[in-house]
Symmetry: C2
Subunit: 210 residues, 2 copies
DNA sequence: GGCGTCCTACAACTTTCGATGGATGCGGCT
DNA sequence: AGCCGCATCCATCGAAAGTTGTAGGACGCC
């Protein structure tokens, strides 16, 4: 076929690293040039090894996958980052792609699809898992209707922390009715009826930190 | 050493299954007798293969790890179940052990610890990852102060779904004041001030499903 | 049996939340 | 400039949520 594709694996689980390694080892055109157990290691190993592709988990200690992706995209332009993670919230997906990832796979990916994806990425193409594509398009077709303003986000974060409207008003230096007005807008945008659901939806979508 | 330990792997991620398999393949005393991609498969394969140990993920489609553990403990007494999962919420840990698991590992386990754990289990011992042990003991030392009753759980689940007290009362066939009374107890036990915080805490602790 | 404890249940009252309506100010667009 | 859209802000009012107090019934424990 073509020349060897150099792959770096970044995942904090030794078992998963071994799994990817053993799966890729069944194919002649992949070569694993390193394994990183956190984002920081991934960045330095990329600078040293100059792999073609990095298979990157998102949730890692020290430096998250998104931050590592950002730094690799900037510091090691020849290397292309593919996210390989368990769950895909809208927020994580968007942030990863913004950070410069050119592929996004879920860990339940069958071996064959993993090979196809990596080869496509190495050719310079992009590859998203079908589920990811679907969610991404759904997110985009749902126009900017649900984009919360800075102030609304601020209010929502306090609500998620369990604060009452009066408290939020005090900390933000506005009156309680204003807080309520923001909340009404938040409810509309998130399509919910009350603050409890709003917090759940926001957490689910990755709008606010868990 | 001693005789071979027959292992069955149950995980819905092909990569993880390959990872475990390749890690165990480095040791002469492990033999993999099957791989299951969901809980249901795990149960049937156990009945067929009679493995010594099952490495079981918790979150799987069709039949969850907890349910599969329960059935294997009942139907295939010779087989001992070890949970191997990513996150450990108190609720999942307790339910898994109640279901009959004799070991609990996290997926960031180093290879050596995985070997030690499996050999201990095969000898009839129990094995919990240090983190799991710690959380379990903390949970027990913190008396039954935060144990919600069945009814309180039911109410809390409806609250988490965004239901109003009146709606909850209707579906449970009780009056609204009663729902509020349950909520007061829930707030006390979870040490929060309102329903919004209660839902967050409950989700964080794994008391209610995400 | 008698006792305490806990789950469950209800009612009256206070506080908070959410709905509705409207005002101001800033920036883009024609 | 003038208009429009939108973010931010405030006020009022009915409807929820949360507080407090009380009580019956089940269970385990002297």
């Amino acid at each position: 076929m073509s020349k060897t594709i150099k792959v770096l694996i970044a995942d904090d689980h030794p078992i998963v690293r071994s799994g990817i390694a053993s799966v890729l080892a069944t194919q002649p055109d992949f070569e694993i040039v390193g394994e990183a157990s956190n984002g920081m290691e991934a960045v330095t190993l990329c600078a040293e090894q100059r792999p073609d592709v990095v298979l990157m988990d998102l949730r890692m200690p020290v430096l998250s996958g998104v931050e590592a992706t950002q730094r690799i995209a900037r510091e090691t332009p020849g290397t292309r980052v593919v996210i390989l993670t368990t769950y895909a919230t809208d927020g994580e997906m968007l942030r990863a792609i913004e950070a410069g990832a050119v592929g996004y796979l879920l860990k339940d990916v069958p071996h064959e699809e993993l090979f196809r994806a990596l080869r496509a990425i190495a050719r310079g193409e992009r590859y998203l898992a079908p589920v990811v594509t679907e969610r991404l398009m759904a997110h985009l077709q749902q126009p900017t209707r649900d984009a919360l303003t800075q102030r609304e986000l601020e209010v929502l974060r306090h609500v998620a922390a369990g604060a009452a409207n009066k408290e939020i008003a005090a900390t933000l230096g506005i009156t309680e009715p204003t807080v309520k007005a923001h909340l009404v807008h938040i409810f509309e945008k998130l399509d919910v009826e009350n603050r409890t659901s709003a917090v759940r939806v926001a957490v689910d979508r990755g709008i606010i930190a868990t």
